[in-house]
Symmetry: D2
Subunit: 138 residues, 4 copies
Amino acid sequence: MFNHNIEIRVRYAETDKMGFVYYGNYATYFEVARVESFRSLGFSYKTMEDQGVMMPVLEYKTKYIKPAVYDDLLIVKTFIKELPGTRIRFEYEVYNQDGVLLNVAETSLVFVSSETKRPCPMPDYFLDMLKPYFTNEL
Amino acid sequence: MFNHNIEIRVRYAETDKMGFVYYGNYATYFEVARVESFRSLGFSYKTMEDQGVMMPVLEYKTKYIKPAVYDDLLIVKTFIKELPGTRIRFEYEVYNQDGVLLNVAETSLVFVSSETKRPCPMPDYFLDMLKPYFTNEL
Amino acid sequence: MFNHNIEIRVRYAETDKMGFVYYGNYATYFEVARVESFRSLGFSYKTMEDQGVMMPVLEYKTKYIKPAVYDDLLIVKTFIKELPGTRIRFEYEVYNQDGVLLNVAETSLVFVSSETKRPCPMPDYFLDMLKPYFTNEL
Amino acid sequence: MFNHNIEIRVRYAETDKMGFVYYGNYATYFEVARVESFRSLGFSYKTMEDQGVMMPVLEYKTKYIKPAVYDDLLIVKTFIKELPGTRIRFEYEVYNQDGVLLNVAETSLVFVSSETKRPCPMPDYFLDMLKPYFTNEL
């Protein structure tokens, strides 16, 4: 299993009149969590996209347990629990600075060639970086 | 069953560098779909909130089937398939102007008293407006 | 002078914890106002962009007079007061449903070729549609 | 003069189909820059708001010089050039990781009592923290 944690500070723009983070804005936090977990592996999502492989989201599920509020310093924990093939599945847990679990989520993404607009295999260099975290499965 | 359709024009702000609607922005479309389906019943979500009942989202699931692109005139179909109690469940289908299904989703929301911050029953006037759509269940 | 009015309903997503529309979200309203004013002329911004001319914003100024709140049905008035050359200048006034002036703004945009990434003249078909509104200046 | 620098990583959500940061999203960067400049002084905007003083934006002007792109690590420089009274004026410069100036902006905000909804003086503890940066003016 691969996992990675990041901190994200809640912005005023992300709150709504209920005083909480708007329910649609967590998707952005998970985008940041994915990209920073890649960066922690020495891997740039931007570079992959510049080289012709993009990763659109296929499926997204989330449960809102407690609200996040303005200026919270969220901890977003990201998990990849299975070695990806053409698809890659992430799970997430969001905690506030007091360790309270606010949100759980999962997303499935697919590798797509920007040339053919069709699914393609995960790039080898990405697979090679992830493999060490899944030695039992190999 | 209650159902309602609205049109939403995709804004430039809602696209991302992939050229598609950003995956997090559908949540806003579903918010608009919910509120406009209430308005079609003669019911204002804003008024309900001003009177002390708010409806935070508990759960949200969505599948991205085809991308929406800039300036698409989306049709968002909203369904309430069961008469709500303390919780209310919506299902959605998003089509583009060519009738292509782009996205399906569902959300569960809960009625919450803004005074006590605790779940509360659905307001009677809302229940009364919805009941005619669920005569078989009563 | 060319002018055009549109209505925009304030979304929950666009509010912030102060209970007002977040100050950054007016820019999206002005984008919608520009594009719909083009559409009223029989002209599609999307088509122009598909044909290789895009219109990035160069300058944006705005004054916040009164706050817009959730569910307001805003009227955005858009004005083009001078026949555009390589640049095009829009002015805006935002009113709520009670006729109260909430916001004034202006933007300058430039026509850019998506091929060369350099400024280019306004497309002739666009100029021809605007000219009748500026007969005194010709 | 008071000044403070922060880094902000451009999110995918903040880009648009032109491939650049959407022109409306800089406002959020400036919000973050203001709040983090306060935090660098040992001062929490959230605490001030919890204590009944909020700071809505009155005026915002910005020039877009070069586009910011996805994954850029922006440097946002924030300046307060005059000791604030009831109003506070910020200037900003946005650079990318290569030192290229992308954007300049300024905002004027006003201190407002959340109880009376009317302008109020800057809180003393905030004034005291800023004063050392403006010794010549005192």
